[in-house]
């Protein structure tokens, strides 16, 4: 489980009075000040270079020194592959890490899928569930060591609706909606069997319906229904 500490938070350490700052050169100080001014947002190295207007080799040297003195650090962001710098005393903000669902700059899909699965199972068991109901049950179940905000649960539930695994319904106060106020938005599983696969329409069940080359396929063309490999496979019983 990757998420035992919960979402990262903004921490601020008291800088040392007798700090390595004193030994910085003029340019190093300029670079450092720009980085520090960006606080927990940090700065992309390219932007930094533009702002400080330093030459390549000088810029590189400054960065190295600052890093070796542990005044700045490189941080992972949602924009992977970009060198992003931040003053050592800051923790990256949600805006640059991508938020709660990101871990070291990567979307934590494993974790997300686990949570999604749990939600579906739970909704299936409950038949119909409100957002609060889902949140409560997850909290009480103790499956996850982290606390989820209701916003987080809402995000997950919304994604499940987009997956068409669950559907949004309004309570009519009857039968399964027995103890839910009329008109309240609830969620239930899309299929009666729990795990739902979206129904596949007529077009999507034939080769041409999902064919990436339909726009270049013509009766007498190079690609045609007669010579089509997709049909060949499809009709190979």
């Amino acid at each position: 489980m990757s998420r035992l500490q919960g979402p990262s938070s903004l921490k601020r350490k008291q800088p040392d009075s007798n700090s390595p700052l004193d030994s910085l050169s003029e340019q190093e100080r300029v670079v450092y000040n720009v980085i520090k001014s960006k606080q927990d947002l940090g700065i992309w190295s390219k932007d930094l270079k533009r702002e400080t207007k330093l030459l390549d080799n000088m810029f590189g040297k400054c960065i190295k020194t600052l890093q070796s003195k542990k005044l700045i650090k490189e941080v992972a962001t949602k924009n992977k592959g970009r060198k992003h710098l931040m003053a050592a005393e800051f923790e990256p903000s949600k805006e640059i890490t991508g938020g709660n669902w990101y871990l070291d700059g990567n979307l934590d899909t494993e974790f997300i899928n686990l949570l999604k699965d749990q939600c579906v199972k739970l909704i299936y068991k409950m038949k119909v569930a409100t957002l609060e109901g889902i949140s409560d049950t997850i909290r009480r179940s103790g499956i996850f060591k982290v606390e989820f905000t209701s916003q987080q649960i809402e995000e997950i539930v919304r994604a499940l609706v987009l997956d068409n695994e669950i559907v949004e319904v309004k309570s009519n106060g009857m039968e399964e909606f027995d103890c839910i106020p009329i008109g309240k938005v609830c969620y239930k599983c899309a299929s009666k069997g729990g795990k739902a696969e979206p129904r596949i329409g007529a077009m999507a069940s034939i080769p041409c319906g999902v064919c990436p080359r339909i726009s270049v396929c013509a009766p007498d063309g190079v690609i045609s229904p007669k010579t089509c490999i997709y049909y060949e496979k499809w009709l190979d019983f």
């Binding site: 949602k78 009766p219 049909y231």
Partner: protein
């Protein structure tokens, strides 16, 4: 809204039913819009006789409607010009004849079915011709030949049933006169250029409206002069084929007579499309909600069927709760439903539950049901073609109905931020999404990509792809058929080989796919 592949597919159907000459005429009419005989001869490069005969066939089968307009001739005086309009929808309906026939045999009896089959085969027939057909088939069928009057009685009865169910209707006027439209008319063409304007659509509607028989006579055996066609005696005794020509050609230089009233009957496509639309709605509701909701919907549709003015009815006529409940009770499966259950189903179906009392009325939003079914069809294409992440994004945008920014889409669908633009871009490239670039210049320039689903445009695009796919299915079907014949020649032995089985299965597979795809075509074009 006739798309390029729509035309290709329609022409393909005509070719396989009536051959190349007829399809050439049809092709020109579909592409260029209404044309005169002279122009048709010029464009098709066929002989006048060939064009005339092709037109006769197309008119006979309700695929073309003639109409006349007045033009200022060379000498400054007004001349009447006859033009021909291809009826795209009716051509496509040819694909659905087995479905129509199935509805008749389900709802009516064997006699009706036979009459109906005749109308499908011949396009238009008089009541006499229908009787003649029945009599001659009774003879060849080995039934006692003395049953002439009995056969005619049965035909009349069957025909009445067909009329009462509105499965059959009186043919439109052979060549109505079209009043010039109030605004100046630029051209008659319905080609790619004028498609945008949509003016041609109204022209087609205008022509059809002016040709339509008055509503009181549409399903009635009375003549315009008030005599009952039933009572009319026919003395000529000619066979169906001859008489058909007789009625259509000989009487006048154009294809119809005004002297003696010859009433022709044809299949009322509209009623069948309505039936199929109702069925599609019920099927969708059954799959999406439950059996109870489907039963209630069926009851409401049955009770309001006669009140529907057009096929694309948006909402059902408001009904009292009591009426709905009575209608539900008529259905065997409905008898297990309680009043509360029916009410709950109505709410499930999206009826506002404003009033709760004895005189509460409900009306169902049919357009919404059709829309949901259309969404589902397109979404499943996206899922299969672009994968689950794209599916989630597409559904998000489709529901949002407005522009959303790339990062926001990534957040809401839990897709990697750097992957998101790639997926969206692919969807955009294939015309499944609309994109807008937004540049904000403050200290630095930021550019955002905004995306949305533009339904009207996308639906047309999907429909065109469906026509394309239908055409391909048909072509593959023909190809497999050829392979089968080739195989039979090579082998000489007609029985028991795996290749032969494969070919047979392939045909069944292709055919049933086409039947299903046709449902989807109707969902997007006719419903």
């Amino acid at each position: 809204m006739v798309t390029q592949y729509g035309i290709k597919f329609a022409v393909h159907l005509i070719t396989s039913h009536f051959g190349n000459l007829v399809s050439k005429v049809c092709d020109n009419l579909l592409r260029r819009g209404p044309l005169t005989l002279q122009l048709l001869i010029r464009f098709t490069e066929l002989t006048p006789l060939q064009v005339k005969n092709s037109l006769l066939i197309l008119i006979q089968h309700n695929c073309v409607q003639a109409f006349s307009t007045e033009h200022i001739g060379a000498g400054g005086n007004e001349v009447k010009v006859t033009q021909y309009l291809a009826l795209f929808d009716n051509i496509l309906h040819r694909l659905r004849f087995p479905k129509f026939l199935a509805i008749v045999s389900q709802e009516l009896d064997k006699d009706c079915e036979e009459i109906f089959e005749g109308l499908i085969q011949h396009g238009r027939l008089t009541l006499e011709q229908i009787s003649d057909r029945a009599e001659s088939s009774a003879k060849t069928g080995g039934k006692p030949s003395s049953g002439g009057p009995a056969v005619r009685d049965a035909v009349r009865e069957g025909f009445h049933k067909l009329l009462n169910s509105r499965f059959v209707e009186r043919c439109p006027a052979p060549e109505p006169f079209l009043e010039p439209p109030s605004e100046p008319k630029s051209s008659n063409k319905r080609g790619a250029k004028s498609k945008l304007a949509g003016a041609s659509e109204t022209e087609e509607q205008r022509i059809l409206a002016s040709a339509a028989p008055i509503e009181a006579l549409r399903f009635s055996l009375l003549t315009t002069s008030g005599t009952d066609l039933d009572a009319e005696k026919d003395g000529t005794g000619s066979s169906v084929g001859e008489k058909r020509k007789h009625a259509a050609v000989d009487s006048d230089e154009e294809f119809g007579s005004k002297d003696k009233e010859v009433v022709l009957w044809r299949v009322n496509f509209e009623e069948f499309i309505r039936c199929l639309r109702h069925k599609a709605c019920m099927e969708n509701v059954r799959a999406r909600l439950d059996d109870g909701a489907a039963i209630v919907l069926k009851a409401v549709l049955d009770a309001t069927r006669s009140a529907e003015q057009k096929v694309k009815t948006e909402t059902s006529v408001p009904l009292l709760m009591n009426t709905i409940f009575e209608e539900v009770m008529k259905n065997e499966a409905g008898r297990s439903l309680t009043l509360d259950r029916v009410r709950a189903s109505l709410i499930q179906l999206g009826c506002p539950s404003a009033m709760r009392g004895t005189d509460e009325t409900y009306s169902i939003d049919l357009k919404k049901i059709i829309e949901l079914a259309q969404n589902e069809e397109v979404e499943s294409i996206v899922l299969k073609r672009y994968g689950r992440d794209a599916y989630r994004m597409f559904r998000l945008l489709s529901k949002a109905g407005q522009l959303l920014e790339t990062d926001k889409i990534a957040d809401m669908t839990f897709v990697e931020k750097k992957e998101t633009p790639n997926i969206l871009y692919k969807l955009w490239q294939d015309e499944y999404l609309h994109m807008e670039k937004l540049v904000v210049s403050s200290a630095r320039q930021f550019s955002f990509m905004l995306w949305k689903v533009n339904k009207p445009i996308l639906w047309e695009h999907v429909l065109d792809e469906m026509y394309h796919a239908a055409l391909n299915l048909n072509q593959r079907l023909i190809y497999e058929q050829e392979q089968k014949e080739l195989y039979a020649i090579q082998q000489g032995t007609p029985t028991g080989s795996t290749e032969k089985d494969r070919l047979r299965n392939a045909k069944i597979y292709l055919h049933s796919s086409l039947v299903k795809l046709d449902d989807a075509l109707m969902l997007f074009h006719d419903f």
